[in-house]
């Protein structure tokens, strides 16, 4: 790392509808530096980096690249100047192949697909990414999409790469690959801005850390001078320390209620193989598994998003009644709601307002009695849920794409709960969500179980599974392989079951 900044932001501000998202922020990135940006959801991290990457323009202040003021009209322009951004939710084209996505925008007049695939294969291998270049992006899992996104940035020979929550979807093994890649990029002269909610990761790989809160810069310090407590205090303005995932004393799991869901010998292709488990009312059942273990697919079959094998696909019964759904709406009517892990793609209509999103989902359960429903009705319902889930937005008419990740997630959860379900499946509900919002979401999940709902929590983050669940199921290679009581299990036991 050298001291001269290659990128500098001076007194930069950005407002949306008169509401400041970033206020008078100074930021500097040195050559070959890994600089982490930390803060709660809505702190302004994404807005700040979007200004750097040319996605949005600052309302005030200036951006300097190599000492020269710059203003990008589009991300493509920023990419030409060597600034690439790997987004939190991938921005790949799902209908194209991996290779086509990597080389998107560089197409020649005549393109030979075979040559493209060979080049992409070599390139991906050099990054140690096990992704098939001929596969459609729509068929990839979240982690593999992330790899393609990273590969695309590296391919464009960016001098500055901005990673927005790059590790949220990665398994521990994939994370170690990723960090090795980041180190290699740095050695090759690339500067990196790293946004993450995993504070340990930021502390481990960063040279410097900048903390934002409510759109303002709180501190910039060398990572070696900081620790988790200091960062959290700066982020939230209060000392949360390890409260979120602290395991003090013996946890008392909620007792088993009546069995509300029985999954027996469920099978779907190679992803779900003869899996069986039960779900009980008034309890949080955590399902842990590495990416590709079939946990999301199992949940989606239950919720009618995917279909089990037609022949000998097993049985699912809800309170004694056999169920088999063709579409999710049928599941919602039966009181089963699935809150997706991929909120951007499957969770909401991002250009619609909070009120419209919540109302649309409410329609799935029961159509309105009137032919014409007044917008004030939408807003009233949305206001109720905003208050209940503490969704921070200008109003219920705010569009989803103007909200921070945590608040978007709360809208997705509100959309599920508005249907008054009795089984709620939450798939990675705190992925890409800040510490403060995580605590709120966990509290909400707990209150759902206390109200007697059966809650299924799918997560790849062990401390979350351990501290939130009353019982833990471990999924491996398409089936549930182990069950633990939350008060008698350690991270090691869960991980052992997940990989052996």
């Amino acid at each position: 790392m050298t001291d001269a900044p290659i990128l500098e932001l001076r007194n930069v501000s950005k407002e949306y509808h008169g509401e400041p998202a970033v206020r008078d922020v100074d930021f500097a990135l040195a050559a070959k530096e890994i600089h982490s940006l930390l803060g709660e959801n809505g702190a302004g991290k994404s807005t700040l980096t979007k200004m750097i990457a040319g996605v949005v323009q600052p309302s005030k202040g200036e951006i300097l690249l190599d000492g020269q003021p710059i203003s990008f009209a589009s991300p493509a322009e920023a990419l030409k100047r060597g600034i690439a951004m790997v987004f939190q939710e991938t921005s790949l084209v799902p209908s194209l192949t991996v290779a086509q996505n990597i080389y998107l925008g560089e197409e020649k007049l005549y393109n030979r697909l075979r040559g493209l695939y060979i080049a992409a294969q070599q390139f991906l291998q050099s990054l140690n990414f096990p992704v098939d270049p001929t596969a459609d992006v729509s068929s990839l899992g979240a982690a593999q999409k992330q790899m393609v996104e990273i590969a695309r940035a590296v391919h464009h020979k960016a001098r500055i790469i901005i990673f927005d929550e790059p590790t949220a979807t990665l398994t521990p093994e994939e994370k170690s690959y990723f960090f090795a890649l980041v180190e290699r990029l740095r050695r090759d002269g690339v500067s990196i801005i790293f946004i993450s909610h995993a504070l340990e990761e930021a502390l481990a790989i960063s040279d410097r850390i900048t903390v934002l809160r409510d759109g303002q810069k709180i501190l910039t310090e060398a990572a070696s001078n900081l620790d988790r407590d200091k960062i959290i205090t700066s982020m939230v303005g209060r000392t949360l320390s390890n409260e979120l995932y602290k395991r003090d004393g013996k946890r008392v799991p909620r007792p088993y209620g009546r069995k509300v869901l029985s999954v027996q010998n469920l099978s779907m292709g190679k992803m779900v193989r003869n899996t069986s488990f039960s779900i009980y009312a008034g309890q949080i059942t955590g399902i842990f598994g590495l990416i590709g273990s079939g946990r999301t697919e199992t949940a989606k079959i239950i919720a009618g998003v995917l279909k089990r094998n037609l022949f000998y696909g097993g049985e699912i019964s809800k309170e004694g009644e056999r169920i088999r759904f063709r579409i999710p709406r049928q599941a919602m009517k039966k009181g089963i709601v699935y809150v997706t892990e991929d909120r951007k793609l499957e969770g909401f209509f991002e250009t619609m307002t909070i009120a419209e999103n919540i109302q649309v989902h409410g329609l799935a359960k029961s159509p309105p009695e009137e032919v014409i429903v007044h917008r004030s009705r939408f807003r009233k319902l949305a206001d109720e849920w905003r208050k209940r889930l503490n969704i921070r937005a200008i109003g219920s008419n705010a569009r989803i794409n103007e909200l921070s990740g945590g608040n978007q997630q709360k809208v997705v959860i509100a959309k599920g709960l508005v249907q008054t379900p009795d089984i709620v499946i939450l798939d990675e509900p705190t992925r890409g969500v800040d510490v403060g919002a995580i605590a709120e979401i966990h509290q909400l999940i707990g209150s759902l179980a206390d109200q007697g709902l059966a809650v299924i929590l799918i997560s790849s983050y062990l401390p979350e599974i351990l501290n939130t669940s009353d019982r833990i199921l471990v999924c491996r290679q398409g089936r549930i392989v182990e069950e633990f009581d939350a008060d008698a299990v350690t991270e090691e036991m869960i991980m052992y079951a997940a990989v052996h």
Binding site: Y256, Q264, N265, S278, E315, R322, L473
Partner: protein
């Protein structure tokens, strides 16, 4: 017509009753070794049913009735009576002890009806009494497992999807019997509910518990279903809950054999009964025996999760009939074929028919 079409479709695609799906043992039914770690109280040849008569525990074993004295030190057994026919079930109330025999008769020992013998109007069908319980001082509830097979041939009834079982009410004063329910899949346990208003019946082949209301004509109500094993006798736990014994596990292979009619009929016709692919109460340890421990042996060790046709399982149900505790003897255990259990002084007495043992399990704090 529609149900028939539904069945054909289910058979074709493997759904519904033909799904070959078995509920998992998880949650409060998660497997453990608690039955194997219970104290051995007595070795009794094939103990079957249990009941408490005063301060004495009564155990049926073949055609013998034993009294087990618990007063001081180690339990001691004493032959109480011997019958010419096998004993199918027993029940006690006050000084009365009712004994149901495999020949279909019911004998009362002691109490106001002592010495009398009763029978049910079964119209010449094979007697298959499986469980009895006193409804009050004068009336007895009787479960008849099957109208097609005698008790010893219970595997035949299961494999042929038997649903000819019935529950009867027998007036001990007049000897009159009335049917409370029929068309049941092998009712194998019966007990009064704590409020005295209803009767719980375990329906083995349908893996569920039913509630009957003896005073009304209401249809039986399913109160607990989807059990992972075949339920047998149940007894009150002294409060408003119950202890339920389950005598053999369900597994996909047996479900498959039940579904494959032609194969099943040929197997039943051609093979000795103990080599059938069917549940059993004990392992014989013979290499001819199908799938007992299957191929899941490593270094000569039988794994606890190996496929098995016999198992030991006892479940405690709370007042809402939600399972709260379970005690297991798995594939590598031997206390299989648990057909009955009764609570006694903070302990649970379990009859393991497969192991030929009477067990004392400490469950006071659970």
């Amino acid at each position: 017509m529609i149900p028939w079409l539904r069945r054909q479709l289910d058979n074709f695609i493997g759904s519904g009753d033909a799904a070959l799906a078995v509920p998992p043992m998880d949650g409060s039914l998660k497997p453990n070794r608690m039955l194997d770690s219970c104290d051995l109280a007595l070795e009794v040849p094939a103990p079957d049913d249990l009941c408490l008569a005063g301060d004495r525990l009564v155990v049926s074993s073949g055609s013998d009735l034993h009294d087990v004295a618990l007063a001081d030190g180690a339990p001691r057994s004493q032959l109480r009576s011997r019958y010419e026919s096998g004993i199918a079930a027993i029940a006690a109330r006050g000084a009365s002890l009712a004994v149901a025999l495999s020949n279909g008769s019911i004998v009362i020992e002691g109490g106001p009806f002592g010495g009398r013998t009763y029978g049910l109007p079964l119209d010449g069908r094979p007697p298959c009494l499986t469980a009895i319980a006193f409804l009050d001082d004068d009336r007895l509830l009787v479960c008849v497992g099957s109208a097609r097979y005698p008790l010893e041939e219970w595997q035949s009834d299961l494999l042929t999807r038997g649903n000819s079982g019935s529950v009867w009410k027998l007036d001990l004063g007049t000897g009159e019997a009335g049917r409370l329910a029929d068309g049941l899949g092998f009712p194998y346990g019966i007990a009064r509910t704590a409020d005295g208003q209803g009767v719980l019946v375990s329906e083995s082949w349908k893996h569920r518990l039913l509630r009957l209301r003896p005073g009304s004509s209401a249809a039986p109500e399913v109160v607990l279903d989807d059990l992972p094993a075949y339920p047998a006798r149940l007894h009150g736990d002294g409060a408003d809950g119950f202890w339920l014994a389950l005598f053999a596990p369900r597994n996909q292979l047996v479900e498959f054999v039940i579904r494959e009619r032609e194969y099943r009929d040929r197997m039943m016709a051609a093979l000795p009964r103990d080599q059938w692919i069917a549940p059993t109460v004990r392992s014989r340890g013979s290499f001819l025996e199908p799938l007992q421990g299957g191929g899941v042996r490593q270094m000569g060790m039988l794994k606890p999760w190996a496929p098995t046709r016999s198992y030991g399982l006892v479940i405690r149900l709370d007042g809402a009939l939600v399972p709260r505790l379970s005690m297991h003897s798995r594939a590598d255990g031997k206390r299989h074929g648990t057909t009955s259990c009764v609570p006694l002084d903070g302990r649970l007495v379990v009859a393991s028919k497969g192991a030929g043992e009477l067990l004392f399990c400490n469950v006071g704090s659970r």
